[in-house]
Symmetry: C2
Subunit: 224 residues, 2 copies
Amino acid sequence: MKEENIHKFEKPSVTVDIVIFTIKNNDLKVLLVKRNLEPFKNMWAIPGGFVRISESLEQAAKRELKEETGVSDVYLEQLYSFGDVNRDPRGRVITISYFALLNSDEIKLRATTDVSEAKWFSVKEIPKLAFDHEEILNYAIKRLKWKFEYTTIAFSFLPEKFTLTQLQKIYEFVFEKEFDKRNFRKKILLLNILKKEKIDKQVSHRPPQLYSLKKKIKEIIEIV
Amino acid sequence: MKEENIHKFEKPSVTVDIVIFTIKNNDLKVLLVKRNLEPFKNMWAIPGGFVRISESLEQAAKRELKEETGVSDVYLEQLYSFGDVNRDPRGRVITISYFALLNSDEIKLRATTDVSEAKWFSVKEIPKLAFDHEEILNYAIKRLKWKFEYTTIAFSFLPEKFTLTQLQKIYEFVFEKEFDKRNFRKKILLLNILKKEKIDKQVSHRPPQLYSLKKKIKEIIEIV
DNA sequence: TCAAAAGTGTTGTGTGTACACCCATGT
DNA sequence: ACATGGGTGTACACACAACACTTTTGA
C-alpha cells in the first residue's frame, strides 16, 4: 500500500449509468437517451453522468434518475463497475452501473433540460448502443431475471394496489414465457407478504381481488 | 448528458480492494495487511491499491493480488463499489472491491516489497479495520456464503485432486455448521461434475477416493 | 485386532408441476 | 344469456432431511 499521496497517480473520470426498467404496454422496457454530442453522436445510450466530487455514488445515481424521469423513491441497486481502458474514446472513464425499476404510473420523462431525446425501448428491440452500453444492458437484464427468480423484486413494477394477474403478467414479460395460474397464485400467497384490499368493481366481468404489500418493498427485498 | 468535456468535473481517486479468502487450519481465513502510513497507521486493512490510468479494473485487481500472494490464476470476482464521500480522510476515493478464493497450497505471502505486514485472520476474529473496510469485508462474507449455496464456487478452495470429505469440511467452515455425510455426497455426485482419480494409499485407515473436476472451474461457476 | 476415517440406502416430508372447470360481473 | 377475465384443488414426481452400520487400511 504505497499511498502516501493519493494524487500520485493520474485519476480517471467516474460516471454512473442507470439502466431504468419498466413494464409498459405488455412489455419489459428500458429507458435510453439519444446522444447529442460526440462521441457516438445521435446514438442511443444508457442515461448517466459524472459523479460530482461531493456526492456519493448512490446520490449521483439518484440525481441522474430524477433528472431523467422525475422519480425519486424507487428501487435502485448497484449493478457492476465497468472500467476497461478504452471504453470511452475521450479518455479513461470508469462507470458504476445501477439499475432501477419503475412502475409506469410514476414516470413523466423530463420534457425540460437539454435537447437530447429519451425513449422507452422494448428489451427485445434494442438499437445499437454507444460505448460498452450493450454489455451493461445485457448484464442488467441478466441480473433482473435473476432477481425475479430469487427475490420479490417484481413488486417494484406494480402500483400500490394490484391484482395477482397483474403480477403474473410481469413475471411472464420478464421471463418471456407463461406460467400456470393456479401454481403461480399458490406460490405467491404462500410467501405471506400480501394483504387483501377492498375490491373495486367496475369491470365487465368478475371483479379481481386487489392486494397490497404488508410491508414496504425495501424491507422485503434482500440485496445479495 | 452534458459531457462535452470529461475534465469539466473534478476527478476522484479510484482504488481496488481485494478480499482474499482461503481455508487454513480448519478455518475460513481472510488476508489483511497492516498499514504503515497515515491515515489509520498500524491498523489492519484489506489489501488494495490505486488503479493505474492504463490498466483495467480487473487488471488492477489481479496485479494487487499477485503482489500480495504471488498467485495469478485464481477465482476473482468483482463485489461492489464503495464511494461515500468521506470514506477516506485524504480525499475523495472510490474503491471497487473484489473477492478472491485461494487454496492454501498456492499461497506464498510476499516476503518481498515494503515493510507492511500481511497475515491471515479467521473471519471469526477480525480486528478493527481501517477506512470502511469492515463494511467491505462483511459484504464479501455475505456474498461468499451466498455463492456457496447457489454455485459450485467451493471447489476454488481445493487443490486439483481432493476427497469428498475435504469438500464437505469447506462447506462446514463457511456455514459454521455440520452436514450429513451421506446426503452431502449424494448431492455433490448428482451434480455430475466430478471424475474419479486414482487412489493414493498412504493413510492408516481406509484410503479415500480422490476426485477432480471434469471441467475447469471457471467454466462451471456462473457469475450473477 | 484395533483405531481411524471412508463409504453406503431407505424412508418420510415437503416443494414444484401438470392439469380443467366454475364464478361473478356488466352488457 | 353470454362474454370476459377471476378464481379454485388434486395427484404425481422429485428434491431434501433424518438416520446407523460396514469396509478398508496401517500399525
